[in-house]
Symmetry: D2
C-alpha cells in the first residue's frame, strides 16, 4: 500500500492545541498527489493542459487529534469507479499505530471542465490493483 | 437560517485556479464558530477551560468550484443528536444562487477529553429550533 | 488611502492563541490584490498570460498580536520605484485604532519570468498619487 | 549549522503556480521551532505556561520561487541580542544549491505578555555558538 510519512508542524495546530480539522485534508491531498506522481501523473503539469482530477466528495472520520510533533503515515488505496472516477480510501495513522483519521474521497477526471477518461497510467494502476 | 457572507481571497486558490478543497473546511468552520458565537459560545474562551466541540465526522459534496473574488454565503443549520452531539448541515452558495458545496459535520462536546453535555446556550438554541 | 476591513477567523490562530505570524502576510496580500483589482488589475487573469507581480522583499514589524474575532483594517499605500517595481506600505490597524503590524513589501512586475513595465492602469495610479 | 529538509506540497502553491509568499514564513517558523526543540525547548508546552517567543520583526528577500515538488533545506543560525531577544538568520536553499529566500527574524521572549529572559537552554546554545 502506498504511504507517505509526515510530521505535525506547529503552524498546523489551532487554538485547541491540536491539528486543525481542515489541515487533514491538506495531508490527504498531499498523499494522493504523491501517489499519483508515483504513477507518472504530474498534477501541476496537467493543470496547465486543462486536465484536473476534481474532488466531488470527501468523507472524514476524525478518530483522535494529532498534536504538535506527532509523526504519522498517510496511506492511499485507489479503487476504480467507471472510466472517469477514482475513489481513494485513505487513513492517517500515528507512528504508534493509532488510527487518527479514516477518509474516503472521490475524484472525477475533467478536461476543460468536462468529465474525461482517467489518464492511462492511472487506469493501468487500477487494472494492476484489480488483478 | 444563520449565514455568513464571505469572498474568495486569491491566496485560498491553488494551482488549479480555484479554491483549494481544504479551504472549504475553513469556510465551514468559520461559519459554525460565528453561529455558535451568536449563541453566546466563545470557542477561544472555552478552549482555555478544557472544553472543546470536537469534530468527529465531516462530509463534503463539492458541486462546483469557487474562483477568485467570488462572493458567497455559508449557511448553518444545527440539529441535536443526544446530549453531547451537534450535527451541522451547511451549504456554500455563490451569490448567483448556485450551490457550490453541500456539507454535513458532526461534533461532540468534550471536557478534558471526555464527552460532556453541550453548553446550555446551545441546547436552548436546539430547543428553540425544534419548537 | 485604500483599505480593506477584515475580521480574525479562529482557524487563523495558532497554539499561542493569536493570529499566526504567516497569516498577516495573507492579510497584506489580500489587501494589495483588492487595491490592484480596484485599479482594474486582475491577478488571476494576468497569471494566465504569464504576467506576475512577484514579491522580492517583505518587511513586517509585529507590534501586537491580533486575537480571535478582532476586527481590523489593512491599508495600502503604493509608491513607484522605477518602471518595473512597486513598493507597498501597509498597516494592519485594530478597530480601536491600535497599530498591530507595520509592513513594507516590494514587488517587481514580470512577463514570462523577466522584469516588465508595470501595467498602465497601475502607472496611472502612481502618477495620480504623485500629483 | 542547523537545517531541516522539506519538499513543496501542491496545496502550498497558488494561482501563480509557485509557493505562495506567506508559506515561506511557515517553512521558516517550522525550522525555527525544530531548532528550538533540539535545544530542549518545547513551544507547545511553554505556551501553556504563558511563555511565548513572540516575533517582533520579519524580513524576507525572495530570490526565486519554489515550485511543486521542489526539495529544499531551511537553515537556522541564531544570534543573541541582549537577554530577551533572539535573532534568527535563515535561508531557504533548493536542493541544487540555489538560494530561494534569505530571511531574518527577531523574537522577544515573553512571560504573561511581558519581556522575559530567554530560557536557559537557549542562552546556553547562544554561549556555545559564541565560544
Amino acid at each position: 500500500m502506498f504511504q507517505v510519512s509526515m510530521q505535525v508542524r506547529d503552524y498546523e495546530c489551532d487554538l485547541q492545541g491540536v491539528v486543525n480539522n481542515a489541515v487533514y485534508q491538506n495531508y490527504l491531498e498531499h498523499a494522493r498527489h504523491a501517489f499519483l506522481h508515483e504513477q507518472g501523473i504530474d498534477f501541476a503539469a496537467l493543470a496547465t493542459e486543462g486536465v484536473h482530477l476534481m474532488l466531488i466528495r470527501a468523507e472524514l472520520d476524525y478518530k483522535a487529534p494529532l498534536k504538535p510533533n506527532d509523526r504519522f503515515e498517510v496511506t492511499v488505496r485507489m479503487v476504480a469507479e467507471g472510466r472517469t472516477k477514482a475513489v481513494f480510501e485513505q487513513q492517517i495513522v500515528r507512528d504508534d499505530g493509532k488510527l487518527m483519521v479514516d477518509a474516503r474521497t472521490i475524484g472525477v477526471n475533467t478536461r476543460n471542465g468536462r468529465p474525461a477518461r482517467l489518464p492511462e497510467s492511472l487506469t493501468a494502476a487500477f487494472d494492476e490493483a484489480k488483478s
